[in-house]
């Protein structure tokens, strides 16, 4: 076993995912199979290989920077238009601070 149900619960917690008991059983099996396949990477000696951190970059290091000038951005009403709950110009969420 590459991964236990306990570990699946732990990872779901890290990922902020509420899973049902059924989903945990299923994911344990699926992730175990996939991680077992992923182990084939260990056949490759990569000790002298530089990781590929950049896919492709064809310009100077500052080329993507622009002048620091103000530009119009989304107005408050538009920015909040998709909020499940908004009020007084803000996104609203369940209370996080006890009075």
């Amino acid at each position: 076993m590459k991964i236990t149900e306990k570990e699946v619960r732990y990872v779901a917690d890290l990922a902020n995912l509420k899973l049902t008991g059924e989903e945990i059983v299923r994911l344990s099996k699926d992730l175990d199979e996939i991680l077992t396949h992923i182990d084939t990477l260990n056949e490759l000696d990569t000790s002298n290989v530089q990781p590929m951190a950049q896919v492709l970059y064809d310009a100077g290091e500052n080329a993507t920077l622009r002048e620091d000038v103000e530009r119009p951005c989304l107005d408050n009403v538009t920015a909040l238009a998709n909020a499940p709950l908004a009020g007084a110009g803000y996104f609203k969420v369940p209370k996080v601070i006890e009075r």
Partner: protein, 484 residues
């Protein structure tokens, strides 16, 4: 109007231009007919999720005004276009095939969408796809699977299944898709249309809902190579809203379609011809024979890291996805599950909102990035990715293009693979390598199986050599009579 009804489902961009120039129809008439046809035909495939008639007709009116005043209406003037529903459209719902974004109406347009309309394109609507572009069959859409226009019991491929299906079905002339591991090329292959994944950075991803940022591309689907080239020409080029978009000058892609492929050196990677279904293998072999007839020099090559590509991809793609999808937390994007605490609200929203495949990938991505595993998985995968890219770099010192299958099998039955995620992932083997290396690659139709299922052939070239890729694909399409 008769010029429309007789040709609309097989129009090319050239035919639309000629019809408009000869006043056989106006852009508004064409847009209205295209919308009517798309609405009537859509129940057969479920390829469109929703339509954008107001936006389409407004764009068509602008084209008609330009035609009347003698202004250049653009290379895509009046052309009915479909856009995959992971690309944002201002004022038009963009769901990403997810329950979580069922009611999301973006406040801005993707750069590719702006450029399509600037070129005169008419956006008819948004196409179905696997949820957040995660899948190879379109079965992971929260809004039902898409049926393959050639065989309604089969998948159209994925994740851009809707975009491939509308082009094959004739309910759009061209479409935009997105490709992270084959999501444009594989459905193009399954639906018998042309699908292009350009060089990484060639097309701005501003407004493409992020799945795996080091792998995501926007690319066109079309019924001919020339139409795909014209769409890419319209949407490609540097965009200051996407810092990963390339500065490389934009060549004239249509000018490259000169048929001059005599002497082109083509490599067939040995590793890509193991494990093919016999019919797919036979059709690719016939395609290769046709390339030889056109004067191409064909030789076998080796890309030895290929067998590690699936494992490498499913680490990098899921790691990036787990981070990109963290934003769907019930605060900003329309859908929230009610809960007492903030933390429970996040968890319940995500638990109820994401489908099974998204959860699987978020879990895998979170696991490989979690404490103690980073070096063993993510760093290892980045090194293997470097080896895969190096394989291609070396190969392109010996050959000008690589020809390979797109998928080991033609379109499979709906439901056939959905319970075996690893088998589904392994079938992406021939397409994910191009994304990992960031090189341009495409699927061009190369015939049909005995049962009438289309099969695509893949062409891959050096970074930014879209002209060479299009030249070869266009010559091949014409010689084989494969244009849709």
């Amino acid at each position: 109007m008769s010029a429309i009804s007789s040709g609309i489902s097989s129009f090319t961009i050239d035919q639309v231009r000629k019809g408009l120039a000869a006043r056989e129809f106006s852009a508004v008439e064409l847009a209205q007919s295209a919308l009517d046809l798309a609405r009537t035909e859509n129940p057969k495939t479920n390829a469109y999720l929703h339509f954008s008639p107001e936006r389409a007709l407004a764009a068509a009116e602008r084209v008609d005004r330009k035609l009347t005043s003698g202004e250049d209406p653009g290379v895509l003037a009046g052309v009915p276009v479909a856009v995959k529903d992971v690309i944002v459209t201002k004022g038009v719902r963009t769901t990403c095939g997810s329950r979580l974004l069922e009611h999301y109406v973006p406040p801005y347009d993707a750069t590719a969408v702006i450029r399509l309309e600037q070129a005169g394109g008419i956006i008819l609507g948004k196409t179905n796809c696997d949820e957040f572009a995660m899948g190879s069959s379109n079965e992971n859409s929260a809004f039902g699977p898409v049926k393959n226009p050639w065989a309604p019991d089969r998948v159209p491929g994925g994740s851009s299944g809707g975009s491939a299906a509308v082009v094959a079905q004739g309910t759009a002339v061209v479409a935009l898709g997105s490709d992270t591991g084959g999501s444009v090329r594989q459905p193009a292959s399954f639906c018998g249309v042309v699908g292009v994944t350009p060089t990484y950075g060639r097309v701005s991803r501003y407004g493409l809902v992020a799945f795996a940022s080091s792998l995501d591309h926007i690319g066109p689907l079309a019924r001919t190579v020339k139409d795909a080239a014209l769409v890419l020409q319209s949407i490609a080029g540097r965009d200051e809203n996407d810092s990963t978009s390339a500065f490389a000058p934009l060549p004239d892609y249509v000018a490259a379609l000169d048929g001059n492929v005599n002497g082109t050196r083509i490599g067939l990677p040995r590793e890509y011809f193991e494990g093919l279904s016999s019919e797919t293998g036979d059709l690719i072999a016939k395609g290769v024979a046709l390339l030889k007839k056109l004067g191409c020099e064909v030789r076998e090559i080796s890309l030895p890291a290929t067998k590690y590509a699936v494992a490498c991809y499913y680490i990098i793609a899921t790691a990036e996805a787990s981070s990109n999808l963290a934003r769907y937390d019930g605060v900003r994007y329309t859908t929230r599950a009610e809960a007492e605490t903030l933390s429970d609200m996040y968890r319940s929203t995500r638990g109820a909102g994401f489908g099974a495949e998204c959860k699987r990938r978020i879990m895998l991505g979170t696991y490989v990035l979690s404490h103690g595993y980073y070096d063993a998985y993510y760093l290892k995968a980045q090194k293997v990715r470097a080896l895969i890219a190096e394989d291609f770099r070396k190969a392109f010192t010996e050959v000008d293009a690589i020809v390979a299958p797109v998928s080991p099998v033609p379109a499979f039955k709906i439901g056939e693979k959905i319970d075996d995620p690893l088998a589904m992932y392994l079938s992406d083997i021939y397409t994910i390598t191009g994304d990992l290396a960031g090189i341009p690659c495409m699927s061009v139709p190369c015939g049909k199986t005995a049962a009438g299922l289309p099969v695509g052939m893949q062409i891959l070239t050096r970074h930014f050599d879209e002209p060479g890729m299009f030249r070869l694909a266009d010559a091949f399409e014409k010689a084989g009579g494969f244009a849709g």
